[in-house]
Each structure stands twice: as C-alpha cells, then as structure tokens.
Amino acid sequence: MARTVTPARKLTFTILAWGIAGLIFFPILWTVLTSFKTEADAIASPPKFLFFDWTLENYATVQERSPYVRHFLNSIAIALGSTLLGLAVAVPAAWSMAFQPARRTRDVLMWMLSTKMMPAVGVLIPIYLLFRDLGLLDTRSGVIVVLMLMNLPIIVWMLYTYFREIPGEILEAARMDGASLWNEIRHVLLPMALPGIASTMLLNIILAWNEAFWTLNLTTSKAAPLTAFIASYSSPEGLFYAKLSAASTMAIAPILIMGWFSQKQLVRGLTFGAVK
C-alpha cells in the first residue's frame, strides 16, 4: 500500500534536509568567511559572522608566498591520472568477476577490500624505500601509481556492483554476433555501464584530490599537490587561521565546483541498484 505524503510531513522533511545540509556545509562556509577576515577578526570572541572588515589580503599573501598554480596542476594530474589508470585496471577485473565468476571470486573481492583496513602508515617505510631506489620520490607518476593502488579496491567494487546489474544475456548476444572480448567490453558493456563508471570516476577524483597521507609523504616540492599547499599554512605556534582559511578555500574550490556541477551524476551513480 502506497504511503501518502501529507504536506506537513513533506515540510518537516524539507526543513530537516535543509538543516542537515546546512550543518554539513557550515564548516566550509565558515572557512570561506574566515578567509576574508584579518587574523585579529579570525580569532575574535564572540565570533564575527558577516560584520567585519572584509579583506583580500590573505589571498594576496598566499599567492605571493606559494606557487599555487604548480600545486593545482599537480593535484589535477594526480587525481585524473590515478583515476584513469585505476579504471584501466579495474574495468577488466570487474568484468571478469561479474561475468566470469570463479569459485573464489567473492573471497578475492573481500581480500581486496580488506587491504583498505590496514593503516597506510604500516607500509610507508617499504614504499618509501622502493620509491627511493626507483627514483620515484617527489614525482607525479609515483604518486599516481600509489593512489591508484590505494583506491583500486573501491573502484573494482563499485564497477563490479554496476556490472552485476547488466544482464549477462546482452553480452552473450554480442558474443553470438561475433564480437571479440575487447569489442564486447568496448561497445556493449561500457556504454551500458557509463553512469556507474562516471560516478566511480568522480568519486575517485574526489578521493585522490583529498588524499593527504601519501601525497604529503611521497612528495617534496616538484610533485606536491594542494594538500601540501594547505599544510604549509597550519602552525601550532602562531595564529595563521585567516591565511590557512584562504589557502583551504583555494584548494577546495575546484573540487567543490566540480562536485556541484556533477552532483546529479554522482547521486545517480551512488544510488544505482540501491532501490529495486
């Protein structure tokens, strides 16, 4: 029996949804507001919400002190590179697990996921030594490979879930029509799974963009992305909250804008198969 949605109920849920969204968004809004304050206003008590002397000084200082463009380009290269490389590896893997499952496929999937449960710091030294010997420290390619490996379980799992929603008979029909394996994936599977692949891609770009452990530990200057840029404005001895907020705003703005424009795609992909 369909449940009727009364206007009062609708209003309650709307207010609740806006309230929760506001709560989640408030720290970001506060960061943006603080970035336009002086350091003295940033620590003012009681806090100043909108009525303060607005200034662009922090942005000017940050621009002058740090090579923002270099960090930004590194973030773009690392986020896109690791995601595309991850997809290139994960699509065939997820295909085989979804359409040609073996007796241990489920175990392999669980094992892949279990690698995410290990604290990253546990493998820092071995990876650092490997990178040192291979000359990969402070290189974009090195960070791309590591972030791809870190996010691979998530990519494989997401793609596996999406692929399982696609009827195997369609692929079988393509095969009967003489399609090779490559053509089957390229012309039949990928177009059908496009929403899922797009949301996987978007989610991984966000994860790679925000990743701070490996990007801080494996880069120094040349390949350092925006996480290193933000870290350079934090200080336990000295008040740099306004400058830190300006740096944070500049670092999160690109991904926030991307998330805003692709939110429909992202939500659609994340809820794909959730309701049957």
Binding site: R132, T220, P236, L239
Partner: protein, 438 residues
C-alpha cells in the same frame, strides 16, 4: 661530415666548456611560523650573494614536517638539503649519524656568540650539528592592569605560591576574565612541555638514575595537583583542549590574567596589530617552588641542519651560515625593525641597545634562556638531558600518552592520583619495551 656540421659540433663543444658550473638547488624544509616565513622573504639577499645556488622551499606544519623529515632522513631518501629541526631531535639524530657536523662555518660566523645553553644542546662530542635560527624559553606574561585591579604584585622571579594566588585574585569569570591560561591539550610538545617544566620547577624528575619512571613521586603529585586545581579554579572553560594558539588567542582578546608559555609569545602579545592588550603586558621569569632552585629548564630552538643524505653539503652549510649569522639579524632589523629579528640565539642581539629598546621582554627572555641547563634538567640526578622534554627517542610516545592522562584530569574525567598512576604504568611499560636501562 659536412663543414657546416663540423662547425655546429665545434660551437656546441665550446659553449659547453664556456658554461659555468651547474647551478645547485637546495631544498629547504621549514616550519610555518613568522620567523621562518620572513627568512623566505629575505632569501633574495642570499641568492644575490650566491647566484649559483637556487633555493626550493618546503614549508609544512610542525608535526607533519617532523614525520616527513624523519622518514626521509632515516631511509636516506635525500629529498632535503637543509632541514629545520628542534633541539630535541639534534642530539638523537647526530648520534644516529643522520646529520653532518657544521665544520665549514666561516670565521666571521662567531660560534662563540651563540647562547651557551643552545650551543651545548646542539653539540655532540664537541661538534656543532645544527645552527639555531631562533630560540625560546618559557616565561610568565601577565596583564598589568588586571594585577593592579586585583591588588597583586608579581615579582620578576615569582614562586608558584605567589603566582597561583595572583591567578585566583585576578579571576572574574562573570566577565570572562580567567586568572590563568595554561596548555591543556594532550601531546609531548603541548601540555607535557609545560607540565615537564612545571614538574622540574617543583623538584621532580621524569626518571631516576636507573631509568625508572618517577611519575608517582611526591614532587610530581604536588605539581600535577596544583596544575589541575588552578585550571579548575581560574582557568578558561575547555582548558583541556587549549594549546599555544588557543591561549594566545585568549590572551590577545584580553581574557587571560596570566599566561605561562614560550618566550616567543611575547612578540605576539605586545604587537598592537594583533593584540588588544599590547600595552598592558608585564613579564616575569618561569616560577619555581619555594626552596627549589629550578625555573623549569624550558629551552627550545628551531635549528637548521644538514642531513647526511644531501648531495650538496657545501652549499647547504653556506646557506645555514647566512641564515643564522649576525648579518642576517641586521638585515631583518634593517628591513622590518628590531622587533622582527629572530630572538634567542645570539648574545650580541641582547647587547644591542636598539633591540633592548624595541623589545621590552628582551631582558627576561635572555634571563630565562640563560637559566636553562639542559645538561641538568632537574635538581635530582638524572640519566637524561633535556628540560621540557627528555632527550630520548621514546619520549614522543611516552610524553603523549602521559599527556592524555593529565589532559583527562584537567577535563575532570579522572582524579590526579589516578591519572599519575596510569601515567606511571604507561611509562614503565614503554621503557621496558625499549630495553631500558641501556
């Protein structure tokens, strides 16, 4: 081969021979604080004098930098040519062979001018392994107007009894004036830096001669009880999560009567651009308990050192000699005034009349730094050196775990005695695990 080709090859060879030696790039890791940022702004002077050296700066938050640099140096990754490290790390890393001795400093550098306590803390077997960029001790900063209103006088060398009494009298919680602001946030470099110094000034020690922890001793109990009690009576709300920055913000907003912390804070609280109480701040030496000849022994410096894994050791030392020289101090003073000069490293700065006039806290900073004896942190005999820390690699873990217990005591979650008993157990376990006594 055609004549043209031969001429081209010849020209290339001549060009290659005529080219100067390849420019060296120094990667310098620094922490994010005012003095270090200023060094980056002044670096044009260095590159003008050394055109064959290019500087690449890596600025990171203190704890991230510590982790990052430790990983690189321990694995000989060679990512940095100059690193900024504290006087806690210098002796430990020098013993490990991770640092190069600074044996190429020019004669005009004047090593003898470096403050003796720092020179001693940064040397190992008579060799200097790092040069101090700026140094600090700890002292009392208090509001002269609030003290006057409360009818209390704080002497230049106060005792704890005198100071705690003043804190109580200055408290006016209804008007959000808190008599005393002290570090409460857990961490070996946060509340335990302050508490270790406070314990030293109560006559306590971290370990006895056989490396047995002494956290349940009477001296530790007295220090921790006074600390927790005064924080409850005269401290700000949420004190268990306050570190240097939080207390700095409170003091600058006029909400603290007394703040005991690093001497570097004096420059911030007297800066009228940042502080609402800039002209109402008085200074006094770190207190001691009656009859205990120890003023906390707080000594910290940010130093520049050359990792053994660098491929540009000479250029690195040239840079360090520039950044920690008297000329650098004069350069900063000339461009930004004497108040901006990096404090706490050279005796000559404190003899300078212009600096004395610009920095009202200069005398007490020097007095506090000279009172520090890192070779003898406690009035008791100890097997370690240090002051607000114990100079052993295990201290970071032990200090932070003990700090969590005492932070919980400040938050009122556990009684002081229980916190100290737990802290003692943690320290005993960690020391046994590390194989002490060694």
């Amino acid at each position: 081969m055609t004549t043209m080709m031969r001429r081209l090859l010849g020209a290339c060879a001549l060009t290659a021979l005529a080219m100067p030696a390849a420019a060296e790039t120094l990667t310098i890791a620094t922490v994010n604080n005012g003095d270090m940022i200023r060094m980056q702004q002044m670096a044009e002077d260095f590159t003008a004098k050394n055109p064959d050296i290019t500087l690449e700066w890596v600025t990171l938050e203190e704890n991230i930098l510590r982790q990052r640099v430790t990983t690189d140096i321990a694995t000989r990754g060679g990512q940095y040519d100059v690193v900024t490290i504290g006087n806690y790390e210098v002796p430990i890393w020098a013993r490990q062979g991770w640092l190069m001795p600074l044996d190429q400093l020019p004669a005009e550098y004047d090593v003898e001018d470096l403050l003796p306590a720092l020179r001693s803390a940064l040397s190992q077997d008579g060799k200097l392994y790092a040069a101090p960029f700026y140094g600090e001790s700890a002292m009392v900063m208090y509001r002269t107007d609030l003290a006057e209103k409360a009818g209390v006088t704080i002497s230049e060398t106060p005792t704890w009894a005198e100071l705690l009494d003043a804190a109580r009298k200055m408290t006016d919680k209804d008007n959000e004036i808190y008599g005393i602001c002290l570090r409460g946030k857990a961490g070996w470099g946060e509340n335990m830096a302050f508490l270790s110094a406070m314990a030293n000034s109560y006559g306590a020690a971290w370990f006895d001669k056989d490396w047995k922890p002494l956290l349940t001793s009477d001296e530790w109990k007295a220090a921790a009880t006074d600390y927790v009690t005064i924080m409850a009576e005269a401290g700000p709300p949420g004190a268990s999560s306050n570190g240097f920055n939080e207390n700095l913000a409170l003091f600058q907003q006029g909400k603290c009567g007394i703040w005991i912390d690093a001497t570097v804070a004096a420059g911030f609280v007297t800066n009228p651009k940042e502080s609402t109480v800039a002209d109402k701040v008085g200074f006094a030496q770190f207190p001691n308990k009656e009859g205990v000849d120890n003023h906390g022994n707080w000594l910290w410096s940010w130093n520049l050192a050359v990792p053994a894994s660098t491929d540009a050791p000479e250029a690195a030392q040239t840079f360090i000699a520039w950044a920690t020289s008297k000329d650098y101090t004069n350069l900063v003073a000339g461009k930004e005034g004497w108040l901006a000069a990096p404090p706490g490293t050279r005796a000559s700065l404190y003899e300078n009349a212009e600096y004395q006039a610009a920095a009202p806290f200069a005398k007490l900073t020097l007095q506090s730094m000279n009172a520090a004896t890192p070779d003898r942190p406690s009035v008791q005999e100890t097997p370690y050196t240090g002051g607000q820390f114990v100079a052993i690699p295990e201290f970071q873990a032990i200090g932070t775990a003990v700090g969590q217990q005492l932070s919980a005591a400040v938050a009122g979650q556990v009684p002081v005695d229980q916190a100290l008993t737990m802290a003692q157990q943690i320290a005993e376990r960690e020391m046994a695990k590390a194989g002490y006594p060694k």
